[in-house]
């Protein structure tokens, strides 16, 4: 019987992996392609959630699901043009300080506009309910999150690895000067990458708002976990983030099964272990400017 329960935790862990993947994917994208350590990623996630709460009563959950990631992406464009742009080539510590400040400004703005108390928000009635596979239970909404995460990953992969756009971006990561010498301006590409990365944070915010508390500090709550996933996966590695998210989900689930107080600590231990064995992360690539 214990084996069945453990198996159930493993499968659920994969589902939870989608949750971690959603919050880490955009972060990884901006990190590996722009070299920006975006500490404001959690804040953009929170903005996505607050937009969902504000928009859903007017245009429905489906409308908010489409509109808020786009609005957050537009916010991303603004932030890139005003701030990120100046820091691609400077010491990462500068962009770190910049985004840390941004995170505090956004969190405090949310607090001033919406108040500190969590805002009520639920799963839309049509998406409620559970699916039973044998005796295993899967909330329908988590399966939807899983599906959306898969779609987001596939679309991002296609864009970065199978289009002309992606080729320029990847070349820019390795050698921006050479890309410039070939007569290609990297700036619009980087704006697009920031928009996609930050838009993905907004998407995570909309999707997770129905199952977690919507309050100003919700971004800070998930930020560390998102970083852990990116670091375990390895810089610049697309598949690494996916593997890391699944791994964190499963390891955390099993830890909670056997020794719950270490539930959250398990991902940090995992990170320490991975970094000891593979300092660049599970599937990390060698990127000149980060060495």
């Amino acid at each position: 019987m214990a084996f069945v329960f453990i198996l159930e935790q493993v499968l659920n862990g994969l589902l939870v992996g989608a949750y971690y993947l959603l919050i880490a994917l955009g972060l990884s994208l901006i990190f590996s392609l722009g070299g920006i350590v975006n500490l404001a990623h959690g804040a953009f996630y929170a903005v996505g959630a607050y937009l969902a709460v504000t928009l859903a009563p007017r245009i429905g959950f489906a409308g908010a699901f489409v509109a808020s990631p786009i609005l957050v992406a537009l916010l991303g464009v603004t932030v890139e043009r005003l701030f990120f742009r100046r820091f691609y080539r400077s010491d990462p510590i500068l962009s770190l300080l910049l985004t840390f400040g941004l995170a505090m400004i956004i969190e405090q703005s949310l607090r001033m506009i919406f108040g500190a108390a969590p805002l009520p928000f639920s799963i839309p009635p049509a998406l409620r309910g559970q699916v039973f596979v044998g005796d295993f239970i899967y909330p329908r909404y988590r399966l939807i999150i899983f599906g959306v995460a898969l779609a987001a990953v596939t679309a991002t992969w296609f864009l970065v690895y199978r289009t002309a756009f992606g080729r320029v971006v990847r070349a820019g990561v390795q050698n921006p000067d050479m890309v410039g010498a070939l007569g290609i301006s990297l700036q619009p590409y980087m704006t697009a990458i920031a928009a996609i990365g930050i838009g993905l944070a907004g998407l995570a915010g909309v999707l997770l708002a129905p199952i977690s508390g919507v309050h100003p500090a919700m971004g800070a709550e998930i930020l560390t976990a998102a970083f852990v996933v990116v670091v375990i996966g390895g810089l610049g590695s697309f598949w690494g983030v996916i593997a890391a998210a699944a791994l964190v989900g499963v390891v955390r689930g099993l830890t909670i099964y056997f020794f719950p107080p270490a539930g959250e600590a398990s991902m940090y231990l995992l990170m320490a272990l991975v970094l000891l064995l593979r300092p660049r992360g599970l599937l990390g690539e060698r990127i000149q400017k980060f060495e």
Partner: protein, 416 residues
């Protein structure tokens, strides 16, 4: 060269003029403040996972100050609040000292975290300044950590447990039942679980699962699967702050049907859960449906000012300031020593409940009525604030108020 020289001189002149203007404005304000206002320090977490409650605390204390000043102030002087974010125990301690030494506050109100309340309590004791704790529940603050200058209008954990416990017994949810609990993994949770476990065991219930949940956990699904496997009769939450919001949202998501209860609770976290997510029976020190004349008046004034009803945290800070104002008036002096003596002598106060409350001299705990509420069916909720129905007040009208208070086990040595 001359040009730039000129600019510098002009800038300098402007600066000097500005400084003079500021000084002119600032100086008299401070002199005035010292002579005819009474300053009260308010120190509570505004950021972090207790921030949502801290915001209600500030709203409550500000409303009280407004009402007091509108009615002519205290001893003919206006009340002026000095409000700060307590952040964590170290900051709380430093800010408490600053409020007392620099801002010369007459006393301090606030706090929600038990660890920070302990730190402020120590400063209060050392400086002989009254501190009224409005939100920290740990029994230890009323036990080995008690001191003559720290007062508690907030209920102790054991009071919360006994109030909801009374109703759980009525509903036949304890005797012979299997319990599964989730507990916030820090001082408050451990303290609460200890008291809750004793109560449940003493009344014939049994814990088949006791999980500690780190305060940074946002996904509860692995815990929910374990609960489902264990098939308990009752699921009990000893969680705190935003944890409760996340937990009840995901409990509803997984569609688990075991009845929920909890021993620590704040209305704000349930308001924040959303339609169809909140369920169970929960304890409260006060709620906006308590039906007494003073309570109705308070709810009306609060709703008018802030556009939403007050919750239990704003109750504590509102009443604390009212108690202090009333005491200073009765004493005809804002002297902290006299205030402490007055409160410890058993002065009674209208705290928006049926029966008046008083601080008992054993541990400075306010002895008072407590409440429990039951979540409403989603279809019966009139609006987003209407999420539960009151189950009544404990102790019963003819019982001694002190039956709920923590046992006088001799760990608090104020009187010795």
């Amino acid at each position: 060269m001359a040009h730039s020289d000129d600019l510098t001189r002009r800038t300098l002149l402007k600066g000097a003029a500005g400084a003079t203007a500021l000084a002119g404005l600032g100086m008299p304000a401070i002199v005035k403040a010292q002579s005819d206002v009474i300053r009260i320090g308010h120190l509570t977490p505004i950021t972090g996972f207790l921030g949502p409650l801290g915001e209600f605390a500030q709203m409550g204390v500000q409303l009280a100050a407004e009402e007091i000043n509108a009615a002519g102030g205290v001893l003919g002087r206006k009340v002026e609040l000095v409000m700060e974010d307590s952040v964590n125990p170290q900051t709380a301690s430093a800010k408490a000292e600053r409020l007392i030494e620099r801002d010369k506050v007459a006393m301090i109100i606030g706090e929600i975290s038990s660890a920070s309340a302990l730190a402020i309590g120590q400063v209060a004791n050392r400086t002989k300044t009254v501190f009224i704790n409005t939100g920290a529940n740990s029994d230890a603050l009323r036990g080995e950590s008690c001191n003559p200058f720290m007062f508690h209008i907030e209920a102790a954990n054991s009071m919360m447990v006994r109030s909801v416990g009374t109703y759980l017994k009525d509903e036949n949810m304890i005797q012979g039942k299997k319990w599964y609990s989730l507990t916030a993994d820090y001082a408050f949770g451990h303290d609460l679980f200890k008291v809750a476990k004793k109560f449940v065991s003493d009344n014939g219930g049994e814990f088949i699962g006791e999980e500690l949940v780190p305060t940074d956990a946002t996904d509860f699904s692995p815990y929910l699967l374990k609960i489902r496997q264990a098939q308990p009769d009752v699921v009990a939450s000893n969680l705190a702050g935003n944890q409760i919001t996340n937990f009840i949202k995901q409990y509803a998501e997984y569609g688990l049907q075991f009845p929920i209860t909890g021993f620590g609770f704040d209305t704000a976290v349930a308001w924040g859960a959303g339609q169809g997510n909140f369920s169970g029976i929960w304890p409260l020190i006060w709620h906006h449906m308590v039906d007494t004349p003073s309570s109705r008046k308070y709810v009306e004034a609060f709703t008018k000012k802030y556009g939403k009803p007050p919750e239990n945290q704003s109750w504590g800070d509102y009443n604390s300031l009212k108690i202090v104002a009333q005491s200073f008036d009765e004493l005809k002096s804002p002297d902290p020593q006299k205030l402490a003596e007055h409160l410890r002598k058993g002065a009674k106060f209208d705290i928006l409940k049926n029966r008046e409350g008083y601080f008992r001299p054993y541990d400075n705990q306010m002895v008072q009525e407590m409440y429990a509420v039951r979540a409403k069916e989603p279809e019966k909720m009139a609006n987003q604030w209407d999420i539960y129905e009151p189950l009544g007040a404990v102790p019963g009208a003819n019982d001694d108020l002190e039956v709920l208070a923590p046992p006088k086990d001799g760990t608090c040595k104020i009187q010795a």
